[in-house]
């Protein structure tokens, strides 16, 4: 099937089988491997991308279903070599260890801060509960979100 998806601001055309997942399209056809395959059943959040600006799980979306829509992956977050404030905050606060969950966390954090520019710790924990980190723990991640919120408020 012929589909057209705007990925990280660029319109792209694909010819895909209907059973192709958005996650595999992004990773295997475009080599945008920042978006991770974690559990494949919507529990871990490692494959979080933005679909029309909303955080969703790319492992549960068919590529054909994204036809005509816009997708942002972690690769579309930085401006060239200039990191996004959320990315900077994660690095500064040591909220990254192995880094596997980080793209998902950053995409969820971006969505959170778009909706709520000054979230409380409880709100951060609630919003990010769909993202699992199995090594560094959540304390530094929450610090990073708070620090990113401050940065973005200027």
């Amino acid at each position: 099937m012929e589909i057209e998806i705007t990925i990280n601001g660029r319109k792209r055309r694909f010819d895909v089988e209907p059973n192709k997942l958005l996650l595999n399209l992004v990773r295997d056809e475009l080599y945008l491997t920042g978006t991770k395959y974690g559990c494949g059943i919507g529990e871990c959040g490692a494959c979080t991308v933005h679909l029309d600006g909303e955080a969703v799980l790319a492992c549960m979306v068919l590529a054909v279903d994204a036809d005509g829509r816009s997708v942002t992956t972690i690769e579309g977050v930085a401006d060239g070599d200039k990191l996004d404030p959320v990315q900077e905050a994660y690095i500064e606060e040591g909220a990254i260890q192995c880094g596997f969950c980080t793209p998902g966390f950053i995409m969820s954090t971006k969505a959170l801060l778009k909706e709520n520019s000054d979230p409380s710790e409880g709100e951060i924990r609630e919003y990010l509960k769909g993202n699992y980190c199995r090594c560094t723990g959540y304390v530094n991640i929450i610090k990073a979100v708070q620090s990113a919120a401050k940065k973005m408020q200027g």
């Binding site: 595999n24 959170l112 919003y127």
Partner: protein
């Protein structure tokens, strides 16, 4: 646990994909392919099921291109919610938060933000999982279900929609289009409670309550219980006991015995044994009714 013992990297089955632009087109496709077709709405149940080969449809009918199915609007009869309304939209809708806050609370308790951005209220109901949180909430709110088929539109009470575990009363070629949630009576209090393995998990037990007080006594009363029988149910006996009585601890405790008695044990109950469900349904119903009473008192 059977989770993730299969390859969930890909959808291993092949199917033909349809994206109808209107209700009539969708219904024609469903009529034509019958059992071979599955409706794709949010996909948060369907896609994992296809990955695990629990379902192997030959045709997928994506209904997302039908614009009128995603509405949330106030009508004289209640709030009309399209089947395609995202769980996140139900959670955040100002109209729902104002008129039926318990529905928003129940929607917000499901999965994660990412799941709620995909999953729809119609999908939560049509999968007919006994633990579907929207189902229990809509039962307590006594919602009406709207169905569209080749003979046109029809509607019936949500209690008649559930036929049992994973089974709903949709005929071949029929599509759930949405719900009308009647406005609860003036001054009503309502609450939704659930418990799962984690806050992220599906419910092991969920309870929804809507009630009003008249002169300190319970007047209107509606309690629904989920995940304890093949489909969510209304706990009519407990409602009857509470009606016309002052909500003292003794009265509530007496009524809650009937909630626990509604638990219908299943042979294989992975998440929790029957006794756990009996006790937690009783406790959760107590919490829900207690919270609804407090709310109703504040409204008086």
């Amino acid at each position: 646990m059977t989770i993730n013992k299969v390859n969930t990297h890909i959808v291993p089955i092949e199917f033909e994909y349809h994206a109808p632009g209107s209700l009539d087109e969708a219904v024609a496709l469903l009529e034509k392919y019958g059992e071979d077709a599955k409706i794709l709405a949010g996909g948060t149940d369907l896609i994992p099921h296809m990955k695990q080969r629990k379902t192997e449809p030959k045709h997928i009918v994506n209904i997302k291109k039908i614009p009128e199915l995603a509405c949330i609007e106030e009508t004289p009869d209640g709030i009309k919610i399209g089947a395609l309304a995202k769980l996140r939209a139900v959670e955040l809708s100002p109209q729902i938060r104002e008129k039926v806050p318990m529905l928003s609370e129940a929607a917000g308790s499901i999965g994660s933000v990412q799941i709620r951005n995909l999953g729809t209220i119609g999908g939560n109901i049509c999968n007919a999982s006994p633990s579907a949180d929207m189902a229990t909430a809509l039962m307590a709110l006594e919602a009406t279900v709207h169905v569209y088929g080749k003979d046109g539109a029809k509607e019936y009470p949500i209690a008649e929609f559930f036929q049992g575990r994973s089974d709903v009363s949709l005929e071949r070629g029929e599509l759930l289009t949405g719900f009308t949630v009647p406005y609860p009576p003036e001054g009503a209090g309502s609450a939704f409670e659930k418990v799962g393995w984690t806050t992220f998990d599906i419910a092991t037990v969920n309870v929804a309550a809507v009630l009003t007080l008249k002169g300190g006594k319970i007047d209107h009363c509606s309690i629904a219980l989920g995940a304890c029988s093949p489909a969510p149910i209304k706990v009519a006996l407990a409602e009857e006991i509470l009606k016309g009585k002052e909500p003292t601890d003794e009265v509530l405790e007496e009524a809650m015995e009937f909630v626990a008695a509604c638990v219908e044990p299943r042979k294989r109950w992975r998440r929790a044994p029957p006794e756990y469900r009996r006790r937690s349904s009783q406790a959760l119903a107590m919490d829900a009714v207690g919270r609804a009473v407090e709310q109703a008192r504040r409204h008086q």
